[in-house]
Structure formats: C-alpha cells, structure tokens
Symmetry: C2
Subunit: 505 residues, 2 copies
C-alpha cells in the first residue's frame, strides 16, 4: 500500500508509526503488529500504533527515529506492507525454555536488535533470557562476534594496538585522561572509545568533551590514532557494536546488567577497534557493581577466557572501588582534576596510582616493557603525557581550553562542613553520584562535587567535607537538601546520631 509520510517530530523510543484506523484495517494490522516501511529501496520494520483522526487515510505518521533512518519529509511517498514477527522471537522463546542459542540464532537476534526489528517486549525477553537462563561461553563468544560484525570496525595495518576499559561503578574515574596520553606518548596506539554517563555523574566521553570534540567517525578515530597515538572518542557517535546501545535501553530501567551482555559489550567494542592487548579495570567494593575481590576474580577469569576465544590478549585489574577515584565527580571538575594532575605531575594518589597501574599493565601485556608501572611513571613525570593530551585534544578539535584553570566550573556552590571532630570512615559512592546528578551532572558540565576529605583523613569540626557545584541555584538547592538527608561522607561517630532510621547504604 502506498501512503504519504506525516512526520511526527517525537522520539518514540523505537521504530514506530501511526496508521489511520481504516488503513490499518485494510492491510489487516492491529496495534502492536509490524509493517515494513520502504522508501527508495531503504526499509525498516516498524511497530504499528492506531490513529483516530490525526492521521487521515492514505497517510502514515512516522516518528523521529524512522524519519531520520529513512530520511523522510512530510508528503514523501512510502510503501508499506504487513510483516510477521522476525524468527528471532522464536529463538528468544527457545532460550526462555532453557535451550542454548546456536551461532546463527544469535547472529539473527543481534542483527534484528541493530535494525530495530524487535519490539520492546521482545528485546526485554532477550535480555532477561540472558539474565535468568544464562549463556555458556560458546554463546557469549558468538554474541560478541555478532555484535562486532553488525557494526563498523577499524583495522590498523601497523603498530601495536592496545585498549583499556572500565566496567564502571566507581565515581570520579577519570583515569583514561591520564592513561591514553601515557600510552600514546610511548609509541603504542590506543583508539579509546568511551561512553557517556547513563546512571553515573560523568562518563569518560562527557569528561573529555569539556576539552575536545568527542563525536568522531571510525575513520577519524583511526586517522587521529595513527597521527597522535591515541584518541578519546564517544563510542555512541560511531557505529561500533551498535547493538549495545539498544540493549542498554532495556537494562537501564530494570537496573540489571546480565553477565553475558556485560562481557560481550566490552569485548565487542575492544575487538572492533582492532585492539590486540586489552586491560580491563574491575572496580570492586561496596557500592560498585562487584562487591568483593572474589567476585572480581571470577569476572576477570571470564574476560580472559572470552578474550582467548576472540584472539585478544586480555588482562584485568581488580581495583579499589570503595570510594571515588581522585577528589572530583562531574564532567568539568573531572576534566580539571585530570588536566591539573598532568600539568603539575602530582595530585590525588588514588588517581595517579590507578592510572599508572593500568598503563603499566598495558605496557607489560603488550611486551613493550617488563617494568610497566615505572615506565608509565617516567612518562607521566617527564611531562610527555601532558604534552600528548594537549596534542590529542587539538587533533580531536579543542574547545579552546588548554589549561586546567581555564575550565569553567559551576558558579553556584555550597560547602558541607563536618559537624564533628573525627576521621572519615566512609564515602558512599551512590550518594556522591546522586548528589552530583541532582546538582545537574552530567548534563550541566560544570556541576559536580569536590571531595575535601577521603577515607581515613582527619577532620576538625567546621572543616569542609565536600563542595557541591551547580550551574543553577535551584539544582544546587535540591542537591543540598538531598545531602542533608543523606550524608555522602561519614565521619566517625555520626552513625549513632541517626538511630533508628539511618542506613549506611
């Protein structure tokens, strides 16, 4: 049936169209059924909604996602016909009844995920099937390969390509802004793609964006890596392992992270950028994704095994995730801390130790050096890493800020002081993140927190514990209100004060 497009500039969150009820009846589709929408040879499958009145007969309401995909304008003619559920849905049902996926089935599912062919219910069933029924290593390997194959990839004809990834969960983790220039300064190549914050206060891409453009194509990533040795790009702007972004949309509202998806998502991204040696940062501790070192070890073993199957040399670092890394949380504050640390060649020991440790691990597993940590320290202290980051920023497209003190931080601020004399006994990651997000991070780049005292440090009554920064006064208010009710920093003695309702996590 030929119909004319009426663009509905609304993000429906999926490939959806609205059909006039009579047109829908004529082609025999009901709400929730699927049709194929074709425009000049390009086509997508779309979920049908039924319209009464707004969309007249002979028209089709196309939401933003489809309009963008097919490049549709009002009045464009498209062809539509009903289609049945993709066979992927049968495969997903098989998993729900406890069966193992075949290689071909996983490829077909991941392709349909990428092409937007699965409805929300079906995609949720896929993710929950992984979560509740699980996958064995064959399936995880096949899924990872399917995620690589259904996206773009980079191949480096020369050079030793390494990469690092953090599974996340610890706030303030701006280590990539130190690790990438250290590695790049050594002559190895590190084409790092990073994510934006989903539940955190700043993703590495958000932090880097304070200093440089992070929206790059795979061609640009390759070109800049070859030129400067490294890059810090936003993975979401590329078409690398695009299945992952769609899967996250389901995981996020349920706050679940099925192990097979976690493994496949990380390794697909690393495999697709052509890395041969990969270091995985696994933050462990209260308030992170991995609660104990034992659990971290198990996950590390799985990463190494998956790497072996993909031909990647993987090594993991289980890191201390029990409190934020460094002293800042929020895009601008983190960019400031990272750049300042490189400029002054000193700073928060947790930030420097961790960055040098992971850079050193990459030196060791790639065969570049046996004394990896020392080599990383040398490059850091020589100032070469600082110069390299400035070089990378300019290659990516500088925002005009090349000095830490030029970075604009939110002008609204509030200092929380200690009401007691004592020592910091705990910093609660989840409260720190919530606080920074209420203040406006990651959308308001200048919003976030500065932590004056970390665990074990001594405070006197009236000493600053944390400073909240925001770009607008009302967000600062909301953040302060939250912090008063839910203190993110626990000074010894405080816990008893809130009996009986106080909970530490």
């Amino acid at each position: 049936m030929k119909v004319r497009a009426a663009v509905l500039p609304i993000n429906a969150g999926k490939f959806a169209v609205a059909l006039n009820q009579d047109d829908a009846a004529e082609i025999g589709v009901s709400e929730g059924d699927r049709i194929r929408v074709i425009k000049s040879g390009k086509s997508v499958s779309a979920i049908v909604q039924i319209a009464f009145g707004l969309i007249s007969r002979g028209k089709i309401g196309v939401y933003e996602e489809i309009a963008a995909e097919l490049n549709l304008k009002d009045g464009d003619e498209v062809d539509i016909y009903p289609i049945s559920r993709p066979s992927s849905v049968e495969f997903i049902r098989k998993k729900l009844s406890g069966k193992k996926y075949s290689r071909e089935e996983l490829y077909s599912i991941i392709s349909d995920v990428v092409d937007g062919n699965l409805a929300e219910v079906e995609l949720t069933a896929f993710v929950l099937g992984s979560y509740l029924v699980g996958m064995d290593f064959d399936e995880i390997e096949w899924m990872t390969k399917a995620m690589i194959d259904t996206g773009e990839a980079i191949e480096f004809e020369k050079g030793v390509v390494v990469d690092k990834h953090s599974i996340g969960g610890v706030p303030g983790n701006k280590v990539s802004l130190l690790i990438v220039p250290i590695i790049a300064a050594s002559g190895l190549l590190i084409p790092k793609t990073a994510s934006r914050a989903i539940t955190s206060a700043s993703g590495t891409a958000d932090t880097m964006e304070v200093l440089a453009d992070v929206n790059m194509s795979v061609e640009e990533i390759k070109e800049i890596t070859l030129k400067t040795g490294g890059v810090i790009a936003w993975g979401g702007a590329t078409n690398i392992a695009p299945a992952d972004d769609k899967i996250i949309r389901v995981e996020y509202p349920l706050s679940i992270d099925p192990r097979p998806q976690l493994l496949a998502s990380v390794m697909a991204k690393k495999g697709a950028v052509g890395a041969r040696h990969v270091a995985i940062d696994i933050p462990a501790g209260n308030g992170t994704k991995i609660s104990s070192v034992e659990e971290g070890r198990k996950l590390a073993g799985e990463f190494v095994e998956l790497g072996r199957r993909l031909g990647l040399n993987v090594s993991c670092a289980i890191t201390n995730g029990s409190q934020p890394v460094g002293r800042t949380v929020g895009p601008a504050l983190e960019a400031w801390e990272a750049l300042k640390t490189l400029e002054e060649r000193k700073g928060s020991s947790s930030l420097i130790e961790k960055s040098l440790g992971i850079a050193g691990l990459l030196f060791e597993i790639s065969g570049f050096a046996q004394d990896g940590y020392d080599r990383a320290k040398m490059i850091f202290e020589s100032g070469k890493a600082h110069q390299k980051l400035l070089e990378i920023i300019q290659a990516q497209g500088s925002k005009g800020i090349l000095k830490s003190d030029d970075i604009p931080i939110g002008e609204e601020k509030y200092v929380i002081e200690s009401k007691f004399e004592g020592a910091v006994v705990d910093i609660l990651n989840q409260r720190v993140v919530r606080l920074a997000r209420l203040a406006g991070a990651p959308k308001d780049k200048g919003a976030g927190v500065y932590i004056h005292r970390k665990r074990g440090e001594v405070v006197k009554k009236g000493d600053p514990l944390i400073t909240i920064y925001a770009e607008t006064a009302w967000k600062l208010e909301k953040a302060i209100e939250y912090a008063m009710e839910n203190p993110p920093i626990v000074v010894s003695g405080m816990i008893l004060e809130k009996y009986p309702s106080f909970k530490v996590v």
Copy 2:
C-alpha cells in the same frame, strides 16, 4: 509545571506523553522517564517521549490513552511533575534475583499494572519473572486476590452461582453457547464472562456477538443473570480483574503463558463474578496448550488448590483437544453450529458430549443433581436450552437473528477435496486456526472453516474435506494458498507423499 494539552489521537499502547525538549530539560526528565499528569484531581503516571518542534514550549502532547483517562481536550491545562520509578519495579527486580513476593508487594505490582504505572520493559520483566523464576501457591493466591480487589466484582444476594471456563487451545470450542442456557434453564445462575480471540479464530465473546450484544457493565451482567439465569458477556468490556488484559499484552507477542498468570487470571475472573462452583475445561492433546493428560492432571490439581484457598469449589474436566470441537471454526460458523444444534437437538457428537459433560459436572459439584450428565441431556433434548439461549440473546440485545439459517456466512468459499481414498488420520489444530485467520476470522465474522470429515472418518477421492469461507476474495486466496502448502487435514497415505520436507506439526 503547568502546561496545556495537545491531544494526539493515537493509541500509543501505553500511558505516554510527548514533551517539548526544553520543557523536559527544565523539569529534568529524559526520554523514558516518568511524570505525573494531573487534571482536576485525577492523575496518571506517564512515560515521557521527547518532541522537537511538533509540541511547542508550554504544551504537552497527550496520546489517546491518557486523553481518555483524564478526559482531556486540546488546550486543557494540566499540572506535571517528574516522579521516580514506582517501588513495584524494585519488587520485580527482587523476583528476578530469585526471591518470593510478599502479599503487599504483589498487591502493589498488580495495582500499578492496572493503573498503567509500569513501562513495557517493567511489565515484561514481571511476566518473565513469573515464567522463569516462578511463584509458589502463596504468591499465586495473593496475586489472584490482588487481581480481584483491583477490579469490579459482583455479589449475588441469592441463588446458586456457578461458572465455567476453558483454558483454550482447541479450535471450534463453542460449548459455552450450549452450557450457559442448559445451566440457566435449570434455575442455577451462570454469569459467564468470556474473552475475544487473541491467537485463536474466535473467542466465545466473538461467537456470541454474532447473535447478541456482548458489551455489558457488571451491573447489566448481574441484572440479566438474575432475570434469565445466564449471560455470555465480553469480559473486556467490564472492569473485572482488569490486570489480566494488560498482562496479556505482554504474553501475546512472546507466546508465553506463565502458569501463575494462567491460574490467577482464570480464578480471579470466576471469583469476581461471585461464582461458588466452577468447572474448568482443560483441553489436552497435540496442538493444544496441554500436551498430555498427565500434564492436564497436574494443572487440574493446581486449579483445585487455588480454588480451595479462595473459597471456591473447583472441578476440572480434562477434555479431548486433539482436533476441533464440532465441525466449524470462526465466529459466524460457530454461532451457526451452536444454534443449529440447540434447534435440532442433535449435531456433532463432540460438541454435544462435551457441552453436556461440563454442564453435568456443574450440576454435580453444585449439589443440584447426582446424575449431572443425564439431567443436562434432558434439558438439552427438551428444547428448554434452545428457548433459554433465545431468551438470553434478547435480554443482552439481539442482533435480529434468532434462527441459525439466518446467520450470514462469508460468501466467498472454496472446497478442499481429498486427493486420496482413505481415512482422516489427523486434523492439525494450529493449521485449522491459521487457515481461518487468514480467511479473515475473527475480525470478519463470516470467515472460517467447515470441517467435513473428522478423525477416523472415511473419505473417497474427491470427497470434500474442508470448506473455507471468507468475506473478501483476496483473503480467501491467501487462505487457499496456505492450505495447499500446509494441509490441515491428513488423510492416511498422504504423509509419505511429501518426504523429505513434510512436517506433521
């Protein structure tokens, strides 16, 4: 924030609104987040979509479902504010990690299901949690009670109230059109609510609708039952156990029917209409939901136990579901067969035996008669059941058809003849249903199939096996094409002809 409604007359399939991107940023919500929408004291929670341009600042695009719920017109002022995920989502996550629900948690989840407070991903997670993790009998009991309590209910001050339900899976199951008048003619009360077809070719409500109006409120159901002894109403038009309809929307695309939901859904509906004695029809056999009598027995035991916990006297009949009941499939054809059988007091033995058997079971468990089957047979053969059905039709609102031969059947038809001499060895339920649906059933009431020969019956070459009826020629074409590729009736000898690709199911 106060905004003005712009009604989008589109069924979004959920409570959704479209916010201008700047307004969304101002109140701090992103796509997929939730807001509460308030109009004159009534409010709903809605999933946010982000609009660019179509919805200007200070406006909110409200889809059909919300416009209807809040009775909104263009320009109406509503109040909105961001809300967090309902705590039900936490409870659902608990189940995903293997825990047992509490009574309060299930009540809260079912309330949120009914109020449209759960996003599709979350509702899917609830259903898959039941399917994969399961529920024990406490949980099933609590869920059933929550489903009853979150909807309307009927209480009969006098009379013995009985009811029947089929778990479905066998085509042509028009037995309620015989059972209800037999029961009603005896003086017992049977306020039967029925469903429309979801995956079948005709639900009892679709079949009854050929003869009478089936859209009734609970007050009308009670009134007509008190007046005539029985009713056959569409449950979906009432507000009885409304959670069920929303849950089905998720089960249907995945073709799953978690046992806890199946049990709760049936028993909630029976409990809510005030029935004290309930007969459950469990069709078993190839191509139905229950593949063996053993499995049927297990399910029967579960129904009886759940009934005991709810104070309902439940008895189950495991019935032969290996081929269609009677000879017709499709709304008008089934209404025709039921009415014809009552008029002539004879007809297909499978239809009559099954109807009398279940009516008899109800007579026995309610203490009305010890020789239930014989009593049902007497009422059937006396013509009182026929008179009673006509009475019920008129009480519900007749469509002007009171004789079977006046029922309009699709005018396009095609007879499939046997190419062999032999005997019918199999009738494939799923193919029969697909055939009837391709011909237009259940939407085209006159579409369906008439089965000339059932299992064990002898055919000569050229004898009619099945006649396909349709309302439009192109749907008939599609049905014929399917039947040629996928013969629904297997005559002995045929199977060998299609080697190697022929599959019986």
